[in-house]
């Protein structure tokens, strides 16, 4: 008797992506560049986060013809984004055969309270998180993979760093707590108690945690690996740079050899201008995508 859609199969898929780079692409041509550069997967989108930011308005699931075009162009896995809480967009992506769904704050949320109950799906999900409360709630809803939220489309790494440090620090803190203290910690963080007990025992999250949201250079990618990320998502950074082919290859290599600083120095030479980037203090209220769900 074979079984599809088990936790092991869904979480295992994310395990295979470890140490790799997942790149945002908007058409077949970009998808091929990403695959050629050594991406472990691509995220099919209508617009990269920087353009979503610039365009304003409501951002939705991409036109299925774009996602399909990307799926037909490459043999590596294809991910796609659904709006937070938009069960139907997610079901449509599943029916299309997308390999992983990102229930993503980069798109405008469809539900401002509830996330999708993801364990009902055969296809695995990745979700963003900033702290152990968000991380464990998403896992309980059925996410098989996590990523930091960072601040997408800004080309500024500061928020991704802060979210990765926060989660790592909370895991370390948790390890030192006694069982009775974990209950209060669960209450304070809105985190499921049993999952916290499991994390305290293992010393790590039960699913892989990638870095995302603001990675713009090979050194940024390497920094996130140094801080304990299992891999990286690069959104606007690659195809908003002057030389995407070279940039993509350099980011892949810097991720693999994140502690070979001489190599990262070599890789970073003559890459051309990285995406312009934004300072966090220039973002007001609803421009902060990371605040869109908790």
């Amino acid at each position: 008797m074979s079984q599809t859609g088990t936790d092991r199969v869904k979480r295992g898929m994310a395990e295979m992506q470890k140490g790799g780079v997942i790149m945002d692409v908007v058409n077949a041509e970009q998808a091929k560049i990403a695959e050629e550069a050594g991406a472990v997967a691509v995220m099919a989108l209508e617009r990269v986060p920087a353009d979503i930011r610039a365009a304003g308005g409501v951002a939705r699931m991409a036109d299925p013809s774009i996602t399909e075009e990307v799926m037909n162009a490459v043999s590596i896995p294809v991910m796609a984004k659904a709006r937070i809480g938009h069960i139907t967009e997610a079901r449509v992506l599943e029916a299309m055969g997308v390999d992983y769904i990102d229930e993503s704050e980069v798109l405008t949320p469809a539900d401002d309270i509830y996330h999708i109950k993801k364990d009902d799906f055969t296809v695995p999900f990745v979700c963003g998180c900033r702290n152990i409360g968000e991380a464990t709630r998403r896992i309980r809803e059925g996410a098989s993979m996590l990523r930091t939220k960072g601040e997408p489309g800004t080309g500024n790494i500061v928020e991704a760093v802060s979210h990765m440090r926060q989660i790592q620090s909370q895991i370390r803190h948790l390890r030192g707590l006694s069982e009775d203290e974990v209950m209060v910690y669960a209450k304070d963080n809105g985190a499921p108690f049993d999952l916290l007990m499991e994390i305290r025992e293992e010393g790590r999250l039960p699913v892989v945690n990638f870095a995302a949201g603001g990675i713009a250079t090979p050194a940024d990618a390497a920094l996130m690996m140094e801080l304990g990320a299992d891999g990286v998502f690069v959104g606007s950074g690659i195809f908003k740079s002057k030389n995407p082919e070279k940039f993509a290859r350099a980011i892949v290599e810097a991720t693999t050899h994140y502690n070979d600083y001489k190599l990262i120095g070599e890789l970073s030479k003559g890459l051309g201008t990285a995406m312009k980037g934004m300072e966090m203090s220039t973002l007001t209220g609803d421009q902060r995508m990371q605040d869109r769900s908790q």
């Binding site: 295992g12 395990e15 695959e35 892949v252």
Partner: protein
């Protein structure tokens, strides 16, 4: 002490390390070709085969791994690792290590939603083995010196040819270490033979 190297360029290498250690052997993550001298057997893990191949080329691993195998030292390829070992890949001219006489089909069971777990019998190794298939390849055909160890739904999913072992599924994702233990035994045997 038997030391097993796990190619650590990308993918689930830490899980293989854990599985090797569970069998009592020593495991090291191999990131540079010079490390091949320090190990008795090599595991090529699951991950993305296209990505791994790029990194193998970049760090000049291709010929050193072939030589490692030619010396009679065992190599075990799982999922993407199986694709890297194969001498023929369906629909592609891009053969990688090409050391094992098998023809493989990539993503043969379908996309991620078709990924599955199933119980398998692996000849001479295990019965009722819980195998995890993730966007898995299968073996379409084997050469005369290659022994089929297991099939699923009529497709070959594990095979051995002398010092080379390959499977479509992920032995590192469960706590059933019997296939890893079989590989560790192959390495111990080869160590004895190579010492003569």
């Amino acid at each position: 002490m038997t030391t097993i190297g796990v190619l650590g360029l990308q993918g689930a290498f830490r899980e293989h390390v854990r599985s090797v250690e569970a069998t009592g052997a020593e495991a090291v993550v191999v990131k540079k070709k010079e490390q091949l001298k320090e190990i008795d057997g090599l595991i090529i893990p699951g991950g993305e085969s296209t990505t791994m191949r790029r990194l193998i080329d970049k760090y000049d691993f291709l010929e050193p791994i072939r030589q490692f195998g030619k010396q009679g030292k065992p190599i075990f390829g799982t999922c993407a690792g199986l694709i890297l070992l194969a001498s023929e890949i369906d629909g592609s001219y891009d053969v990688h290590l090409g050391v094992m006489d098998i023809k493989v089909r990539r993503n043969a069971f379908g996309r991620q939603r078709d990924s599955f777990e199933a119980p398998l019998d692996i000849e001479g190794v295990a019965e009722g083995y819980n195998a995890v298939f993730i966007r898995a390849p299968y073996i379409e055909g084997v050469g005369e010196n290659t022994k089929v160890l297991s099939t699923y739904d009529g497709h070959i999913v594990a095979a051995q040819q002398d010092q080379y072992l390959a499977c479509s599924f992920h032995p590192e994702l469960t706590d059933d270490h019997r296939l890893t233990a079989h590989f560790v035994e192959m390495v111990k045997e080869s160590k004895k033979t190579l010492a003569l």
